[in-house]
Subunit: 264 residues, 4 copies
Amino acid sequence: MCRWAAYIGSPIFLEDVISLPGHSLVRQSHGATRCHTPVNADGFGMAWYGERAEPGLYRDIMPAWSDCNLKSLTATLKSHLFLAHVRASTGTATSRNNCHPFAVGKWSFMHNGQFGGYDGYRRHAEALIADEYYPHRRGATDSEVLFLMALAEGLDQDPAGAMARATAKFEILARQRGIAPYVRLTAAFSDGHRLYALRYASDEQAPTLYHRWSDRRGGRAVVSEPLEQDETDWLEVPPQSFCIFEGDRVSQQPFLPDAARAAA
Amino acid sequence: MCRWAAYIGSPIFLEDVISLPGHSLVRQSHGATRCHTPVNADGFGMAWYGERAEPGLYRDIMPAWSDCNLKSLTATLKSHLFLAHVRASTGTATSRNNCHPFAVGKWSFMHNGQFGGYDGYRRHAEALIADEYYPHRRGATDSEVLFLMALAEGLDQDPAGAMARATAKFEILARQRGIAPYVRLTAAFSDGHRLYALRYASDEQAPTLYHRWSDRRGGRAVVSEPLEQDETDWLEVPPQSFCIFEGDRVSQQPFLPDAARAAA
Amino acid sequence: MCRWAAYIGSPIFLEDVISLPGHSLVRQSHGATRCHTPVNADGFGMAWYGERAEPGLYRDIMPAWSDCNLKSLTATLKSHLFLAHVRASTGTATSRNNCHPFAVGKWSFMHNGQFGGYDGYRRHAEALIADEYYPHRRGATDSEVLFLMALAEGLDQDPAGAMARATAKFEILARQRGIAPYVRLTAAFSDGHRLYALRYASDEQAPTLYHRWSDRRGGRAVVSEPLEQDETDWLEVPPQSFCIFEGDRVSQQPFLPDAARAAA
Amino acid sequence: MCRWAAYIGSPIFLEDVISLPGHSLVRQSHGATRCHTPVNADGFGMAWYGERAEPGLYRDIMPAWSDCNLKSLTATLKSHLFLAHVRASTGTATSRNNCHPFAVGKWSFMHNGQFGGYDGYRRHAEALIADEYYPHRRGATDSEVLFLMALAEGLDQDPAGAMARATAKFEILARQRGIAPYVRLTAAFSDGHRLYALRYASDEQAPTLYHRWSDRRGGRAVVSEPLEQDETDWLEVPPQSFCIFEGDRVSQQPFLPDAARAAA
């Protein structure tokens, strides 16, 4: 499992979400409370949007709490839209290319969850990556494969549908060749304009997902765990949901990779 | 705080202490049970003696649990005498030069503990390092200073006395310029023949120290925490003690830096 | 391009080949003279055989000249058979999993050369890795793919034939989908008993390969570049050759992946 | 020796100086032409000013040419004032804390040069750091000591004088305890408003220093080596000079640490 936090709204210093809150993402890197692994110290990363279409990307292999570059970057960079992630490896190596977020062109993507027995069918999952996106396959994680599959499924035109089709393909593979849990998946991704998030599991244990508008920040945080433990107004996204965040608006719809699969 | 484990006896693969036991040092790097910080993931290191007088030294900044080099080295290297350490920084940076063990010539040294308010008197502590040993000052930790001070105090001729005199000097400085707790200190060090360990605190909270002879290994482990949680025959070293391990023998004596200080 | 050095003979400290000679491998990492890229600083690695069937493996991303762990390991480890490599990336990331040597079970492998346009057909090359060896696919290099393909082709039973068949398959792919030069390849590999090396190119520019017996060491070095620039008795292996080194003996035979391909 | 580049002017993407020019700083990291060490691959760093008084700081231990984070950061960050450095160690370890620039509060500082025999008098140099700045002493370089000494000498009130006094103190120490060449020093530093640079040596071999206004960028680059090898209008700063860059203006004055020393 991993933990992540994203933000959309008025530009803020990244530290305002990543390290300053009482239960910030950095805090969660050594003391997460709503998942099985309190320690998420197998690298970290962040993607932030600014003047260019492509996000900036900074990822490294140290625990987030001890990286002096992360501290300086989050204290000096401002962004209206960013994603940040702390990793707990479920098997693959601690290397920069296995750290989230992943970025291709204007898109960035990060993931928390589990594809049961992925190591046994990695070869078959990778074979589903389209030629066009294969040069972007740099690491060994299931998460990067899902992202590259979704890009080929049309993330540009239909974010929810593309991600559902990619998830369905993965789930079929997991059912054929993997072990339970087939798919547990909470993800966030962005094209630099909208922020998308989804929560899904093929069993009863979808990883947690919350969001909350902050008047002080003038923006919304979308997170694995609430950033302050005494704030009671975080909204929990129910399982099998897909959210679109744009400006201060939220729209939420069912996320049904099964339906997509049936239609395939 | 940190955790460490050392071994003296018949040559064994290093993994037999560092990673294979149920509560091995690697396990303690993310789940220590007898100290305030369960996570000790700010780097690690090991020193082992072989054919040369100088120990081999391998230190790196990743958590011990995720380092593939550590896994391979401990699985293939055999030694009759080695020290290993997982670090939880009390402030200084996560860098190789701040990782234990430290080594100068034939000597290696590692430490778990705290010198209260050290950051406020680091300058004065470093000024106590003898010219001869200053080129070996590579990092910023209090532990490395203590080691270099002890070398100048005559570690070669009188290990217990040299370490007591160095500790006393440090304690004087801590009382003058630091904050309580002045000194908490559990350390192990070796010249390649004997293994030394000490447990001391200027208050009531000396870090833990245990040892146990293993017939299976044909050697003795000296550790911060017992390597198996169901083994009941680990011997706890009382505070203010200095131990000498040679072959299968143990000798234990009071460790009294105050006395050394008074005599100085 | 990269540079490498291997050794078989009486046990020696690894530094005796890797860092002490006047034109040692570490020296070649910043001043290689017989290849296009004098700087080979995109990581390094070494595999050495000792008491276990599996080799020890140490790889890291820093330039070889500045890694303090490498310095200590090579100064204290002795081995009768080892491989060492300094890397100049031809495109893939500087990460441990892209550093040579690669190791699977008792086998280790390292490579210097070029598969023209590999990035464009990586997907198809990876698809040729057998299921059995896919979990060992950790990085993104062509070299690791060649090694895993050779394992599936029967490296255990027929090292020369297996490597020829794997090379032939790679060359077919390179001709179909890559760009010239199709294949340039100098490699060394070992099962812990024999040391194998080959030199091959589909054009006129096979990377260099030399070997020399040293009475002082009681062993033979097999290298990209002679370890001393004033030693005149290094034997150059001609292109399209496969060498077997065992004890003090050398046997050399043609390496003809084309023939293997024709027979396939 | 090292290489560095700085910029002041209209905000530009950092890559416009650091990696895009034909003889960019990244290019100089493996092929510098105006110094003794063509390879400057022992880490790198950059400091850039934005919305906060303190600069952002990113430093790492890989060669600049292979760091994917550096590539992304320089492609997405814009700044009106920044410093960047590629390092060739003259002895101290490759670690983040030894990489330039160094930053304290609003000040950033980087250096290229040599204090002959520094290792022999490091202890005495460090003893000259004022108590107030000692907590900022994180690495082991002479450069960081010079910066911290200059801060205590009044960098805020009198940048040229403070740096001259610090250099003079260092030069006295070098003459007393070091070996020739006593001091060779080209440095750049900034408070976020002005950019300062100096070129000085106690012998005839001061490291090179150039600057050039670019209409295209709307700003001035100040560098160790011209960023394009065919641009003929780079201005070479003569030895023993101190430059102040503010907006598009340059003011240049003698840099005479000897005079400062005499007056001390």
